[in-house]
Symmetry: none
Subunit: 461 residues, 2 copies
């Protein structure tokens, strides 16, 4: 009894192990690790390390032994198939100190699956229906390779606990259902601990400013019942992540996150996008989604007139399902001729101020409203580089325009000048995000009021 | 002398370390690890392990000590910023047994960068300009956080060699140029071993077909002087990677790759894009770049008429520097009204066949030529989902149009119907790539000849 109590642990923490030369050589991006980490986190298990090793049975064995000392739960992917490079089964048998035996149920399922494809079970295929003697096979309805659940006793790994190792197939379409159906129900979670995560997106405040203004919240808590707050930045959008793990129960966890969110919103105001972000959603997609929702709620319609972004704003907005209710389309006027022909930008403005200028950005936005009949238009004209910059207008010079036709028929317009840092990709992505941010603030605060908001990379006021 | 000879190793192998709670918690997919692995592999360094740990200075330190015993080169990402969760600098100082000191050059660069944005260096920002006393800062032209190169003596890690640790910033736009400019030139490579990689992109052939047709080349070589050939697929574009590591010298390595490339091209013909792909370049960017080059060479000009892709094709083409020489712009006609108003699609076609139909795709492409004056136009209209599908036109139904005005004034047009698999993002991305593929084959083979090429997901002939 005492020994069982010592070696059987709650799955408070976990390690994630990916195997495969295609991952270690960088031939594919390992999206399984992030998916598993997210799924574990959501279930209340804290992932403490991810490791990726090549198709090498000895290295796989060493790594599992090491990870078993880090956490009582290991979820691994890959190496279960029929090829010579699939080494997870023999590695697990060696770790467990057991022979590989044929699993009758797995063999029956494999025979049936291959039979449906008009094929028989070769020796090579049959390897997939083997398991270390004490392990159990996890059925795989979507492929030939069943998973494995192996319990490695403390004595075999040197860990202070028996470790549960779940071996899942590499293809995400097989791994994800197997995790849901076989791993989640097997987790031993401490019923006394509640874990919750909340994500907020922040626009147009530099990361260091946010860090300073939320310093009282981001200070790392070693213990205690306050949520841990972290942030990451991408394309000028910050993601704040609050996470709490508490013995005070689900509702106390939610209340603590509510309190922190209120504090963040009171400090940063409209810079915090409404609602809670979804795990795995990029900031720019969240912004596009928010703008689409604002448009729907206000009954406005959007068009675009894009030069240096070449269609990226349209692409971003239409990535949102349901955007067709508010987004009518627009024009990509990469050449000056099209700026004049389609949007009515005057040749004299183009000649006097150049295509990358305040009057042209304004004329593009106003022209897009007239051309498309939408109530709102965003325009972008800029120098994305690497060529085309000058002393007066260096690479990264971007003018963002927003025109709006009010119900009265009156047309307002606003233009911001930015000096965006980065390479061609950065300048374009950041310009697209900044243009959408302009619209976001105009919708959230009112057109005139939003003029006071300083965008990232904005020059002047 | 003896000790130096023992502790200074060639960088034959490397470990990759990613840090950040956002990665271990699965909030972002770590694309840096794959990029670094690919870049190291291409340079002739074999990545033997990837590890990912949270923002925890002690764990970071332990992990680096462990990885230093696995390989004499560690490339890590993340944790260099100004927040309290950025712990790479203090962790490296502890590992090196040194104090953090201010780096004058890094401080000057930081002051200048922030100054250009009208800001001053706060205490918090200033942390980014510190380094362990014996380390060197790696300049970061694209962000505030410089990188670090720390040489950890064997005595500090228990490794049999001095380990070189390169700490790079997490944002890919900062990490990638810093790797190229600061890490690559610092690698110590065995001059007796030549490593060469060659990448080829393949369009419009299913992965299993390529695998079957190149089976004689993809068989795993345990030893020997033949290149190893691997492939990955993304968005319908395959990337073939041929890699050779040989003691026979640079020219023998290049010759072996030349032989393999000739064989691949003779088997797959125009489906292999011309030239060699760059490491880290996505297939769709390579395709856009190739199309831009074809247009420049043939003196043609391109416009787009995009519905369900909403500007993605324009975005892709204009991501290529120099595209303005051939790409004039186009229209995003998301609403039916704009399809009719801007492109002259007939109301009767819209009513009879629907917006997602062969005649509408054709009229959009022809309309774009007339509207923009370009010689060529690509059009896309489709159902990206998740809503909007029907029995007759399920989600994924996409019509791709290509219109061309010949020098004689004659206008040709071609339309392909596809049933693209995947979610909204997949359908849009694959539709954009397929449209560009249509143009690619028309340029490579001639407009009429290219009709025989069957695109991925194409329905009918």
């Amino acid at each position: 009894m005492l020994r069982a109590a010592m070696t059987t642990q709650y799955h408070d923490t976990a390690c994630i192990l990916s195997t495969g030369d295609e991952v270690t050589l960088g031939q594919i991006v390992d999206a399984n690790a992030a998916w598993l980490a997210d799924a574990l986190t959501s279930a209340g298990v804290l992932p403490v390390e991810q490791a990726t090793v090549p198709d090498d049975a000895e290295v796989i064995g060493q790594t599992i032994r090491r990870l078993a000392q880090r956490a009582p739960l290991i979820v691994m992917s890959g190496g279960l198939g029929p090829t010579d490079a699939d080494l997870t089964r023999p590695a697990m048998a060696t770790l467990a100190g057991e022979e590989l035996v044929v699993d009758d149920e797995a063999m029956a399922a494999l025979t049936e699956l291959l039979g449906r494809r008009g094929r028989v079970v070769t020796d090579r295929q049959a390897r997939q229906a083997t398991r270390p003697a004490s392990a159990r096979c996890l059925p795989n309805p979507f492929g030939t390779a069943p998973g494995l659940h192996v319990r490695l006793p403390a004595g075999r790994t040197g860990a202070p606990w028996d470790a549960d190792v779940f071996c899942l197939p590499g293809p995400p379409r097989e791994l994800q259902p197997m995790f849901r159906d076989c791993v989640l129900p097997s987790l031993r979670l401490d019923p006394a601990l509640a874990t919750r995560t909340r994500l907020l997106h922040v626009l147009a405040v530099p990361e260091s400013d946010v860090a300073a203004r939320l310093a009282h919240l981001t200070r790392r808590q070693d213990v205690g019942e306050a949520p841990l707050l972290a942030m990451t930045a991408s394309g000028g959008i910050l993601t704040l992540r609050a996470r709490i793990r508490t013995s005070a129960g689900e509702s106390a966890a939610a209340a603590a996150l509510d309190t922190m969110e209120r504090e963040i919103r009171s400090v940063l105001g409209h810079h915090v996008m409404p609602g809670h972000a979804q795990v795995g959603t990029r900031g720019e997609s969240a912004l596009a989604s928010c703008v689409v929702q604002q448009l729907r709620q206000s009954g406005r319609s959007l068009s675009v007139a894009e030069s240096c972004t070449g269609g990226m704003i349209g692409g971003l907005v239409t990535s949102i399902s349901g955007s067709s209710a508010s987004f009518v389309g627009g024009v990509i006027t990469y050449s000056n001729e099209l700026k004049a022909r389609l949007l009515g930008v005057s040749q004299s403005d183009l000649a006097t101020h150049g295509a990358v200028s305040e009057p042209v950005a304004r004329a593009m936005a106003i022209g897009a409203i007239k051309l498309t009949g939408a109530s709102d238009a965003l325009s972008v004209t800029g120098i994305a580089g690497p060529d085309g910059g000058s002393q007066v207008k260096p690479v990264g010079t971007v003018f963002l325009g927003h025109a709006r036709r009010e119900d009265s028929g009156e047309v307002r317009s606003a233009v911001r000048q930015c000096l965006v840092t980065g390479d061609r990709h950065d300048v374009r992505q950041r310009a697209a995000i900044s243009a959408l941010s302009m619209l976001y603030f105009a919708q959230a605060m009112g057109f005139e009021e939003s003029r006071a908001v300083r965008l990232n990379w904005q020059v002047g006021t």
